[in-house]
Amino acid sequence: MITEALVLSAILFVIGTFGVLVRRNAMIMFLCIELQLNAVNLSFVAFSRLFGIEGQIFVFFVMTVAAAEAAVGLAIIISIFRHYETVNVDSFNLLKW
C-alpha cells in the first residue's frame, strides 16, 4: 500500500520538476511547483502510517506555507504581466547582478 503511494508521489514530483524546467509560462511553472509540494505532501501522509502522526501535522504546515507562497507568487506574476504584458520567462532576465 505504502509503496504505491510513494511511487505515485515520485511520479508527481518528477512531472512537477520537468514542468518547471521545460515550460516557459510563469503560470504553468508556478502550478508545477505546487505539484511538487503536493507530491511531497503525499509521501508525508504515506510515511505517517508507519511513523506516527507527525507527518500529517507537517502537511498542514506545508499547505499553509504553500498558500502564503501562492499569494506572493501570484502577486508577482500579475505585476510582471502588467509590466511586460506577457508571462513568458524568456522575455525577462533582470534576476542578475
Partner: protein
C-alpha cells in the same frame, strides 16, 4: 567642590616618608614645582590654539593685526608674557623655600614624596614619586632659576614672533619634563623626563618649522638622541633584571652585591653612558647639538646649554655608585669626555657663526663635566654643570641680544645678510655696552680666569684628573695622565676661541654695513636684566666651592672667600657611597699632580696661561683684517679648512650611515614593500576579481537556467550522499 580642592591639595602635597631622625626636612609643595610648568603649558597651549584661530579670522576679515605694534596685539599674544615666566618664577620661589629648608638640616637620606603607584605588575612596581636630596635640589635650583631668567629674556626676544604662545607652551613643557627628569625617584621616571625633554628639544629646534633646514635639524636631534635612549633602556632593563627594581634608593642600597669591576656593572654603566652620550652630545653622537642652533636663541640657552644637555652628567652623578664600581666604564666616560672637550674646542676655533662657536663650546664644556664625573670627582662635575649653566646661558642670551639687534638692523634696511655671522659684526661694544660687558664676564669665566666661576669649577676637574693619575692604586694611571694634559690643552683652546668670538663680535671696525650701523641698538631691559643677573652669577657662582687647598692662599683671598668646598660637602651624602667604594677598592686618593706641585701652583699656572692666551688673542684678532661676508672671498686651505668643515664628520656619517640606510630603506620600499608585499596583496585582489568575473558568467538572469542548475545541484548532492 571643597572635597575636590582637598584631594587636589593632597595630591600636590603628597605623602613623604621623611625617615631620618638627624634632621627633619619637611618638603614644601614639591609637587607644585612640577605641576606649575605643566599648568603653564596647558594654559599657553590653549592660548596658542586660540591664537591660531584668532589670526586666521583676522586675516579672513582683512583686519590683520600688526604684532610689532604693542597696542594692537590680541590677548592671546599678551597673556603668555605673564603665564610663561610667571609659572617659572613661582616654581623657582617654591624651590628656593625647599632649598632653604634643606640648608637648615643635615639631610642624610633622600626624602621621597609619594603620589601614586604608576606601574604595578606582580612584584615590580614603579611609584610616581619625587625625590628631594642635595643633588636634585641643586639641579632644580639651576633649572627653575636659570629657566626663569631665560623665560624673561624670551619675552623680549620673541615678542614679534607670530608663534609666541606656542613658544612659551613648549618652553614650559620642557621645564616640566626636565624637573621630572631630575626629581623622579627612579630610573623609569627619569626616563619619562629624559624622553620628554627630547621631545621638547625637537619641537623647539624645529620651532620655525616652515624652514626645511630647521625642521631637519629638529629631526636630526631627535633621531640621534634615540640612539642613545636605547642604551638608557637596556641599562634600565639590566638593572631591573638584577635588582628587580628601578628605584634609586633600593638599587643603591643593594649596590654592594655587585662585583667591583664585574661584567654586569660595567655593562650597565656603559649602556647608561651611551644614553648620556646621546643626550649630552659627546663623541660620536655630538653632531646634533651644533645643528640644534636652528632653534630660537633662548632655547639654545635653556635646553642646549644650561639644562637638558647636562642630563647625561646628572645621570652619571646620580649613578655614581655604579660608576665607581666600574673603573673601566669610568675610564671610558673620562676619555670620551676629554676627547670631546678637545675635539669640539678645535672645531670652535674656525667657526664664523656666533651660535656655532657657542654650540661647539658647549659640547667641549660638557666633555669637561664627563671628565670630572669619570675621574670620580662627581661633585666637581656637578659644580661645573652649575657654573656652566650660568655663564653659557649668559653667552647664549648675549649672542641672542646681538642677533636680535643685527636682525633688526638688516630688517630695517631690507638686506638679506647673515645676522649670525661674526664677520658681519665687529665694533658692537659701542651700541651694546651692557651686552658686551656681561658677555666678557662670561668669557673670562669660561676661559678659567680667577676669580670667575669657571676658574674654580674647571680647575677642580682638571686637578682631579691629574690627582687620579697620580693616585696610588688608581686604574690606568698613564691614561689619566694623558687625559690631564689633553684637558689643559682644551682649556687653552677655550680661552682662544672664546676671546676670538668676543673680539670679532664686539671690537674692531664695524662691518655690518653703512646703512645698518645706525639701527644697531642695545637690548631692552627685559633682555639685559637677565644678562646682568647671570653675569653676577658667573662672577660669584664659583665661590660656593673654593677648593680647600686654595681657600687660604691667593685664590681664596686668604680665606676671605667664605664657602670653602661648600658644594663638595653639600653633595657628600650623594657621593659618599661612591667614594667609599673607591676607598675600599683603590685606597685613598693621594693628591699629587703628575708633575709635582700642589693644587695652588697648578691653579696659578692655568689661570696665568689662560690670561695670557686671552690677552694675546685680543692682540692678534684685533690686528687681523676681517671682511664682511659679502666681501670675504678667502679660500681656506689645509688644516683650517678641515676645522672649518668640522672634520667632515657630518659628511662621513652621511656617507657611512645615512646613505646606506637610505639605500636599504629604498630597497625595502621599492622591492620588498611595493614589489613583494603590495604585489601579493594586489594579486589576491585581481585574482578574486577575475574569478568573480568568470563565475558571473553563470548568472544569466534567466529563471530557467537557475532552476536547471538548482536541480542538477540537488541531484548531485543527493547522489553524493547516496553513494
Amino acid at each position: 567642590m571643597s572635597g575636590v580642592l582637598l584631594s587636589l591639595a593632597a595630591l600636590v602635597q603628597g605623602s613623604s616618608e621623611a625617615a631620618n631622625e638627624a634632621g627633619h626636612f619637611e618638603p614644601f609643595l614639591p609637587g607644585l614645582i612640577v605641576l606649575l610648568p605643566l599648568l603653564g603649558f596647558i594654559a599657553n597651549g590653549y592660548l596658542s590654539l586660540r591664537h591660531a584661530r584668532v589670526s586666521a579670522d583676522s586675516v579672513r576679515s582683512g583686519s590683520e593685526f600688526d604684532l610689532s605694534d604693542a597696542s594692537s596685539r590680541p590677548s592671546t599674544h599678551t597673556l603668555p608674557t605673564w603665564i610663561g615666566p610667571g609659572v617659572m618664577g613661582a616654581a623657582f620661589l617654591i624651590t628656593l623655600v625647599n632649598f632653604s629648608r634643606m640648608l637648615g638640616v643635615h639631610l642624610e637620606e633622600a626624602v621621597v614624596v609619594h603620589y601614586w603607584t604608576w606601574i604595578a605588575t606582580g612584584t615590580f612596581s614603579v611609584e610616581a614619586a619625587l625625590q628631594l636630596d642635595q643633588l636634585s635640589i641643586i639641579m632644580m635650583m639651576v633649572i627653575t632659576g636659570v629657566g626663569t631668567l631665560i623665560h624673561v629674556f624670551s619675552v623680549g626676544y620673541m615678542k614679534d614672533d607670530p608663534g609666541y604662545p606656542r613658544y612659551f607652551a613648549y618652553l614650559n613643557l620642557f621645564v616640566f619634563f626636565m624637573l621630572v627628569l631630575v626629581m623622579g625617584s627612579s630610573y623609569a621616571l627619569m626616563f619619562v623626563g629624559w624622553e620628554g625633554v627630547g621631545l621638547c628639544s625637537y619641537l623647539l629646534i624645529g620651532y620655525w618649522f616652515s624652514d626645511r633646514e630647521k625642521a631637519d635639524a629638529g629631526k636630526k636631534a631627535f633621531i640621534v638622541n634615540r640612539i642613545g635612549d636605547v642604551g638608557f633602556l637596556v641599562a634600565m632593563f639590566l638593572l631591573f633584571k638584577n635588582f628587580g627594581s628601578v628605584d634609586f634608593i633600593s638599587i643603591f642600597h643593594d649596590a654592594d652585591t655587585l662585583i667591583y669591576g664585574g661584567g654586569l656593572v660595567t655593562a650597565i654603566t656603559l649602556f647608561f653612558f651611551i644614553g648620556a652620550i646621546g643626550k649630552s652630545a659627546q663623541i660620536p653622537l655630538y653632531v646634533w647639538l651644533p645643528d640644534a642652533m636652528a632653534g630660537p636663541t633662548p632655547v639654545s640657552a635653556l635646553i642646549h646649554a644650561a639644562t637638558m644637555v647636562t642630563a647625561g652628567v646628572y645621570l652619571v652623578a646620580r649613578s655614581s655608585v655604579l660608576f665607581a664600581l666600574a673603573p673601566f666604564s669610568s675610564a671610558i666616560v673620562a676619555g670620551v669626555g676629554v676627547l670631546t672637550a678637545l675635539f669640539a674646542a678645535t672645531i670652535a676655533l674656525k667657526q664664523n657663526d656666533i651660535k656655532k662657536v657657542l654650540a661647539y663650546s658647549t659640547v667641549s664644556q660638557l666633555g669637561y663635566m664627563f671628565l670630572g664625573v669619570g675621574v670620580g670627582a662627581y661633585a666637581a662635575g656637578v659644580f661645573h654643570l652649575m657654573t656652566h649653566a650660568f655663564f653659557k646661558a649668559l653667552l647664549f642670551l648675549g649672542s641672542g641680544a646681538v642677533i636680535h639687534s643685527m636682525h633688526e638692523a638688516y630688517h630695517a634696511t631690507h638686506s638679506h645678510e647673515d645676522a649670525q655671522d661674526m664677520r658681519n659684526m665687529g665694533g658692537l661694544h659701542r651700541p651694546m655696552r651692557i651686552t658686551c660687558i656681561t658677555m666678557w664676564i662670561a668669557t673670562l669665566a669660561i676661559a678659567g680666569i680667577w676669580p670667575f666661576a669657571g676658574f674654580f669649577s674647571k680647575d677642580e676637574i682638571i686637578w682631579y684628573a691629574g690627582a687620579w693619575a697620580g693616585a696610588e692604586g688608581a686604574p690606568y694611571p698613564q691614561l689619566y695622565t694623558v687625559y690631564w694634559m689633553l684637558a689643559l690643552v682644551a682649556a687653552l683652546l677655550t680661552a682662544f676661541y672664546m676671546t676670538r668670538m668676543m673680539v670679532m663680535t664686539f671690537h674692531g671696525k664695524n662691518r655690518t654695513g653703512e646703512k645698518e650701523q645706525g639701527h644697531l641698538h642695545e637690548a631692552p631691559p627685559v633682555m639685559w636684566i637677565p644678562l646682568a643677573v647671570l653675569a653676577l652669577l658667573s662672577v660669584f657662582g664659583g665661590w660656593i666651592n673654593v677648593p680647600e687647598a686654595l681657600s687660604a692662599g691667593w685664590a681664596g683671598l686668604g680665606g676671605l672667600l667664605p664657602m670653602s668646598e661648600w658644594l663638595h660637602h653639600w653633595l657628600e651624602p650623594i657621593t659618599a657611597q661612591a667614594h667609599h667604594v673607591q676607598e675600599v677598592n683603590l685606597g685613598k686618593y693621594s693628591y699629587y699632580a703628575p708633575f709635582g706641585g700642589g693644587e695652588a701652583l697648578w691653579a696659578a699656572i692655568s689661570t696665568i696661561l689662560a690670561g695670557t692666551v686671552v690677552f694675546l688673542t685680543v692682540q692678534i684678532v684685533r690686528r687681523q683684517e676681517i671682511l664682511a661676508v659679502k666681501d670675504d672671498a678667502t679660500d681656506l686651505s689645509g688644516f683650517s679648512k678641515v676645522l672649518f668643515n668640522k672634520y667632515y664628520v657630518d659628511e662621513l656619517y652621511d656617507r657611512v650611515i645615512v646613505q646606506p640606510i637610505l639605500r636599504i630603506s629604498r630597497f625595502c620600499w621599492r622591492v620588498i614593500d611595493a614589489g613583494i608585499i603590495d604585489g601579493a596583496v594586489n594579486a589576491v585582489g585581481w585574482g578574486s576579481k577575475g574569478a568573480g568575473w568568470l563565475v558571473s558568467m553563470f548568472q544569466t538572469g534567466s529563471i530557467n537556467t537557475y532552476a536547471f542548475i538548482l536541480t542538477v545541484g540537488v541531484l548531485f548532492v543527493l547522489g553524493a550522499s547516496l553513494f
